[in-house]
Structures are given as C-alpha cells and as structure tokens.
Assembly symmetry: C2
Amino acid sequence: MDIIDRKIISLLAQDARRSLSDIGGAVELSASAVNERIRRLTTSGAIRRTTVDADPQALDLPILAFVWIALAPGADEAAFRSYAAAHPSIAECHHVTGPWSYLMKIHVGSLAGIEAFLADMKEHGFLVRSETIIALSSVVDGPFILKEGMV
Amino acid sequence: MDIIDRKIISLLAQDARRSLSDIGGAVELSASAVNERIRRLTTSGAIRRTTVDADPQALDLPILAFVWIALAPGADEAAFRSYAAAHPSIAECHHVTGPWSYLMKIHVGSLAGIEAFLADMKEHGFLVRSETIIALSSVVDGPFILKEGMV
DNA sequence: GCGGTCATGGATATAATCGACCGCAAAATC
DNA sequence: GATTTTGCGGTCGATTATATCCATGACCGC
C-alpha cells in the first residue's frame, strides 16, 4: 500500500470505469501493472468492491434520516444485527459512544416510511426509545448504494 | 425507471464490474439493451457514478466519528459549505433538524485526528459548540469513498 | 396505419487479461 | 565485502473478453 496504490484508489473512487491504460497514464505505469495492483488491492481487501452511486430521488427515496436508538434491555443483539443487515432501508448502522446504543442512517420514501420503520423495529422487540433526525439538505452527500431487498 | 432499471442498478451496486451480458442474463435482456439502459440511467443522473468502496483500515483511517456542530452565529454559511465540501476528512455533512445545525461523518487516523479536525474548524471561525460521537463498531457499514485530497 | 420507443444481433473498436521475459534490491552465501 | 540467488514488480506483445455502434425489426399508443 504505497502512494501509487492510494492514487489508484482515489482515481477509481472518482470514476471506476476509467480504463487501465488511462489510469496507467496518470500514475506512470503500464496498464498491466495497474491491473496487477488493482487485483492485489482487491484480494487483500483494501478495495472492498466496485459499485454505483445512485440518486435516491430517482429511486423514490427522497428522505434521508438518522435514527438513534436505545436497544431494549435484554434484547437479542445478534438478532438485531442480522435484522439491521438485512433491512433494505438501513444504509448504515453503527454501535456508538454516548447515551444511545446505535445510530442508523436510513433512506425512505416519505415521512410515513419513517413511522413504519420505527413501528417495525418496535414490533420486533428491539426498540424502547429512539430519536429521529431528518436531513434537510446535504452539503456533502455520501454515496447511495441500493440494497438488494430494496428493488 | 422501471423495475428492470432498478434491478440493473441493484446488480451494479453489488458489483459494478459485472459484464453487460452477465447482467443481461439476470434481467433477460440482451447486452446491448442493458448497455443502452445504463447509458440512459447515467445521463439522466439516476446513476451518479461508478466508484470503489475502500477499506478505511487499509488506508490508515480506522476511526469513524459523527460530529454535531452548531454553526457560529453570523458564520458565513456558504464558506462553511465549500470548506466542508473540500475537507478530505468529511465524508458526509448534512443540515439537519433538531438542536444542532449540521451532522458530519468523518474518517480520521486517530483520536488526535478528531481534535485536530475540531481545532481546524474552530480556527476557521465556524464552530461554537460541538459534540462528537465515535463509532465503536459497524453493524452495517456504508461504503468508504476515498476523497481526492486524502491521497 | 404511423411515429416513437426500445430490443435484437452482428460487426467493430476498445479494453482487460495472460504469459514470457527483464531488472532491481534484499537476503544469503562464499 | 563481493557475489550469487531469489522474489517482487515491472514492461511488452498476443490473446481473449467486453463494450460500443449500427441497421433492422417488434411493439405500443395515438
């Protein structure tokens, strides 16, 4: 993982469809060498995957919200984790410091979608208390990766 | 934007390097048709870009934190926005509801990096008050896109 | 029936992949 | 300390796979 690898990752981050020879030109290496480096970065896990950043608006998911939750006492943490992993609306879910247990980032179609989301978690017995913060606008937007179950 | 377009986006989200004929097989369309759909999705903006999801650990940015900030009264919002957009550590920055002005997601190399980050914002005159939440672990991890200035 | 939209299939251009070979630098040996 | 060995990472050219383009044809709504 040298400076060239970083440069390659940075270039791919901007546009993963650039050709190997194009990238090679940018880092002064042959296409083959770049290919080999990308292969190594991928197998070592430094590059986790190549993906597409979609527009949530175009997919009818205009609402971005952050949900803090306190897990119900005695809740099955493992069950919660697989629930969160499989849930199509949950883009991220982090165990965090501070007064709450988890912070989740969710994409939904409407405010009703937030209500349904919270109700579903309550039904599953995970939720005792939560706080929802809605993003009004995004100065710097993270990529939106469509989850499998969301189709 | 029909169900096939969504399926294509979903397939690309999992692995943007799949071949057109491969995707064509999955959605029962020819490679050409898939190519044309992807072209349309890209020009219409439904697909914003193809990118690579990197491992922050591999890039020596093991710490993920969320920072709430209250913008200094009378601070130049436009200046703050361009500062945030250009800042290499800021993966996301959202204007949000609730008691704080902005919620930011940042990747740094160490706890000292958080301190430096906050100090820099204070120096720029944006910050009056902030609260930092550190992610201990991630149940569902968002993609990490290496920002240009981070190389 | 007509125009527009979208898919097909084959031809062509472009790009990725593979294999043989080379050079440098570090480790091992004399 | 000099020399050989070894392994990593590179280049180049050949091969294969893939994307792109184009002409044609089916389907749908008007």
